[in-house]
Symmetry: C2
Subunit: 692 residues, 2 copies
Amino acid sequence: MRTKGVLILIVALMLFGCNQDEIKENSKIRENNDMNLMPIPKEVNLTNNKFYINEDFKLSVDGKIGEMVTTNSTRFLRRLAGRTGLFLDQDFITKNSNDKSAELQILSKGLGKVKLNVDESYSLEVSEKGIQLSANNENGIIYGLETLLQLLNSDEEGYYFTSCKIEDEPRFPWRGLMIDVSRHCYPVNVIKRNIDAMLATKMNVLHLHLSEDQGFRVESKVYPKLHEMGSDGLYFTQNQIKEIIEYAKVRGIRVYPEFDMPSHSTAWFIGYPKLSSKDTVYSIERTWGIQNPAMNPASEYTYQFLDKFIGEMAQLFPDEYFHIGGDENNGIHWKDNKNIQKYMKENGIKDKHELQTKFNQRILKILTKYNKKMVGWDEILQPEMPNNIVIQSWRGKKAMIEAAKKGYTAILSNGYYIDLFWDTERHYLNDPVLENENLSPEVEKNILGGEVTSWAEFTTTENVDSRIWPRTAAIAERFWSPRDVKNVDDMYRRLEMVSFHLEELGLTHLTNREMGMRRLTNNENTNSLENLINVIESIEGYTRHKREGLKKYLQQSPLTRLIDISYSDAPVARKIRKATDEYLSGKNSALYFTDNSEEYLKYELKKLSENHKKLKPIIDNSPILKEIEQLSENVSIVAKIGLEAINSDKKYSKSQKEKLLKILEKAKEPIAEFENRIIPAVEKLIKNSVKE
Amino acid sequence: MRTKGVLILIVALMLFGCNQDEIKENSKIRENNDMNLMPIPKEVNLTNNKFYINEDFKLSVDGKIGEMVTTNSTRFLRRLAGRTGLFLDQDFITKNSNDKSAELQILSKGLGKVKLNVDESYSLEVSEKGIQLSANNENGIIYGLETLLQLLNSDEEGYYFTSCKIEDEPRFPWRGLMIDVSRHCYPVNVIKRNIDAMLATKMNVLHLHLSEDQGFRVESKVYPKLHEMGSDGLYFTQNQIKEIIEYAKVRGIRVYPEFDMPSHSTAWFIGYPKLSSKDTVYSIERTWGIQNPAMNPASEYTYQFLDKFIGEMAQLFPDEYFHIGGDENNGIHWKDNKNIQKYMKENGIKDKHELQTKFNQRILKILTKYNKKMVGWDEILQPEMPNNIVIQSWRGKKAMIEAAKKGYTAILSNGYYIDLFWDTERHYLNDPVLENENLSPEVEKNILGGEVTSWAEFTTTENVDSRIWPRTAAIAERFWSPRDVKNVDDMYRRLEMVSFHLEELGLTHLTNREMGMRRLTNNENTNSLENLINVIESIEGYTRHKREGLKKYLQQSPLTRLIDISYSDAPVARKIRKATDEYLSGKNSALYFTDNSEEYLKYELKKLSENHKKLKPIIDNSPILKEIEQLSENVSIVAKIGLEAINSDKKYSKSQKEKLLKILEKAKEPIAEFENRIIPAVEKLIKNSVKE
């Protein structure tokens, strides 16, 4: 599956550690938008030609053709027509859509399979004469179609596919996204559009986190009080779950459920308090953080209940994997329960960890009975657990590698927590298996891949897309592409195009930011707010939970403030930092900047230095923006300092320097949970100023 | 229901035929955004005070409280928190959420009902001390909550509700929107967000056009080949239909189905050719326009089939009305069928109209058996049809009034075809019953209201919202507000705010235009394309079907060109025309323009005159935009002519004038189905120039 192949990726090679001349060369590629593949395939040979398409363009299918190919080749045609405006004739592709004269010939040697370790490779050849796409399974075909769409380009003669030969297959077989639908719940269409985005980035596992202290999100016919009393009416019916699974299946994506136990389980206890470890009246938890409620591991009722419940869900979710959570049990309700304490003594269980292992072993039996394999967070890995469980590593990579060495299969999530507001770069360079880890092939094989985790304290239907995308596309490349694909600048360049193309699938990561800005300004001109948002970032981590002197976030708190539409990678700030490095080193790559880095810096810093003046009257009319007034002013002041440093030809006395650096130091203090991300650039400009 | 009340609407009165001073007065209101109600209530008294809200704001419910109030008052809180950023404490409102100290007191005297002629009135009083909302039914309460949200405002002290006393009830009991989900089909969430928008504009009937030549869109368990063979897999399951009906019900909205018969019915015949009048092999129709296939009215099989089918659908759709279409049967397949001709002779039926009436009478019996009342398009009104059918008038208002005089109930759709690309104004002023029609109260009562119709040849999931909204909000006001509410300028002013607030409900009418522009420019800067789109309009009517020398539109043709995101009311063009009128008449209302109309005109015309220069390189890089290159140039030329006319102090010789008018005349020719909508303004500027 993860054969080490020769990487003949011309463009990527040119970009790795390139010198000035090479960068100039590449800037042409950027202008042509020639090579926007993400994830980068295993092998790409550009063959220096173009396949032009016109309204007669047709596709033909041959071999073993099922719904995976028919649906996605129809979607391919619609998307191609949508981007080009060409009135392509074909309507809906069926398995009989076979035409030897068609421009795009698809050959699938096997029907699609949606399970772990299926062959997902494909071969794609675009020549002047036509396009050949073949694969051992439909799975490969649908990836090849996504790659082909990324090869679409245009010039004065019209639209064409860049000709090339591609041999591609993924590095890891488990390329997942976990969506927490429990802390906040989303409608079916939100899940569906994220599934489309997953296919577009060649991901193949959707992990639904379906129960939490704050909500139980799936209909249970066996125990209806779970969803009736534990969800505020916000849950997926079984029909909707089937709809999601079917939608994903056609897109080559496995869907498996997580029911977090024994902790993170308050929502179960509202309807079924007997399951819990503490005899009390439960209600849906509105606060965030680790809670005390936990299932009672010492009661047979618990196992009888879970047997029936898991039996029901095992049937609803056909995937062979089943996630039981297992994380963050603080043990408090166990400690307070006399029966549980008695049970522990009687069975020689010395602490909560052993007790949880006992619990997990019982659950494992149930899962096995229903032909499911157990997945759980780090905590389920205890000495007495058998080898056939999958560890989802969230607390650290080291533990995962230890697990793999002990023969456990594992997936990495540590480093892929996209609710932490990290830069894309940091996620991107987090490799499940670095070369210098020197794992044996057997051990490396135990590391199946990874999962991006989208936790939902601060996500809603409106902003969840922008929290997941586009950053997840970069992580998807980490899961798919060869290990040595890691040029960060090129990743950001391609990510911008991927992000743009995801819109076609209905993703709202870009549009809802614009909508949110209109709401914040009460429908005034949003230009100045956009200038601000382009250079500030949410503080990394979970700092939002600490609102000194302000009301804490609850489940129902509004997520419509500026921070809720902010970037993790403020795009203009990143370019300003990049341009500053180039400017100070005397390089002008023109990789990012139309003219040169100095001109770019002057332009952006001038605009920002004048921005607060424009934003101020809008803030005055919109109380919800009051909290960022000082930040806005701060950005303009810092930009002005940067601009002056350039305009004064970088000449400052030591005392001037110190004074300015002090101002910048002070400006680093977060305001309204935001950081001003041009400060590092301006600091460099000052520090590098010439002493007189 | 449509009692003529005293209209004490202060603001509206001030705007009716107001003089210059009054307009200046009103401009303050505009600046404060004080009065953005749409539809305008029957009676509004502004009481010159403000009710400020803070984080302790609570609402309390009392009386007969069902899901209509609990769901929508919870939604109210979330939307209020969302707009203000306030961390309101209340989570989910239940019927026990009763608290005498709460700031918003809601009293519902009856549970909600979702049927024709329910009492939808409400009383709302906002004073400095608190807010009282009461109604005879939950229906009124949920409308009062929408009105209250429209009263939200802010000043330097924070957010407040403008205090007032409102007594409100609708003019018409049937305020409908028909969505054609057959020519193109949309996912459930598209229907749901449109339902939310309907509630926000106080509409109460959703009419789903569920079958067509191009698709059969609902699952039938009795006749599964209908949806299996007639839909390309794009249909609503019965569970989804139930989900939609339940969603609408909670929002006070009736949902009733239309199954168009005997014509517009090709999709039925693919699975059940025996139903048809011609023995042939049918397939889903991909072209647009009137088709020949029709059900066989001379065969008992047809009535047996329809009896079972209608029986199934009558149960699925609980509303008391059932639409049978009945339009545009060209009679060709009837004429060609010997058995049908024989049947006509035998039964003394002289033409296709009489035959269709016979057919309708049989269907009427079936509907009656299942307790349904028949609704149909104009054509069903034939001499022998009974009085208890509802005529949906699409061909003209005159026929509707004739029908009403004959004792038929009727709803108006003629004039509300929003797929015709009309200006909002034209729809808005189309009144179902003008005062000068002098109908007797009995006859007037037969006119139940109207329905906006959204036909789907050129709509997709991406652009359907922008085709329906915001224009439908103006028609909704026509259906709800007193007849004499008809100030067009004020309607446009308020419509902009309504449009903005619809975004909060997930409507994509604004965001997808931005997305579409990014796609057209291949992710380049969209400013210049936006400048263009703001002054051009799709040609009115159905001209898109005439593509000389180009491929005709088919069901699968791309709807991603500029025209698919264009306006029916190009907003900047409208303001330019308005400013021109003011400038030429020497008035400067400052109602629309920050400075004055001359400054505004100079600013906009200058921008437009330079626009093509900016757009040209983008067009050069995006073949899909090629078709509007000439239009773009044309707009810049016309803007330049306008600008020069102002700058030259309006002095032109007769021959100069003639020459310029000739250029403008030529520029009127549509390009790529677009009209340049600043031409009328520039023409006036030239015509009004002073002769030397």
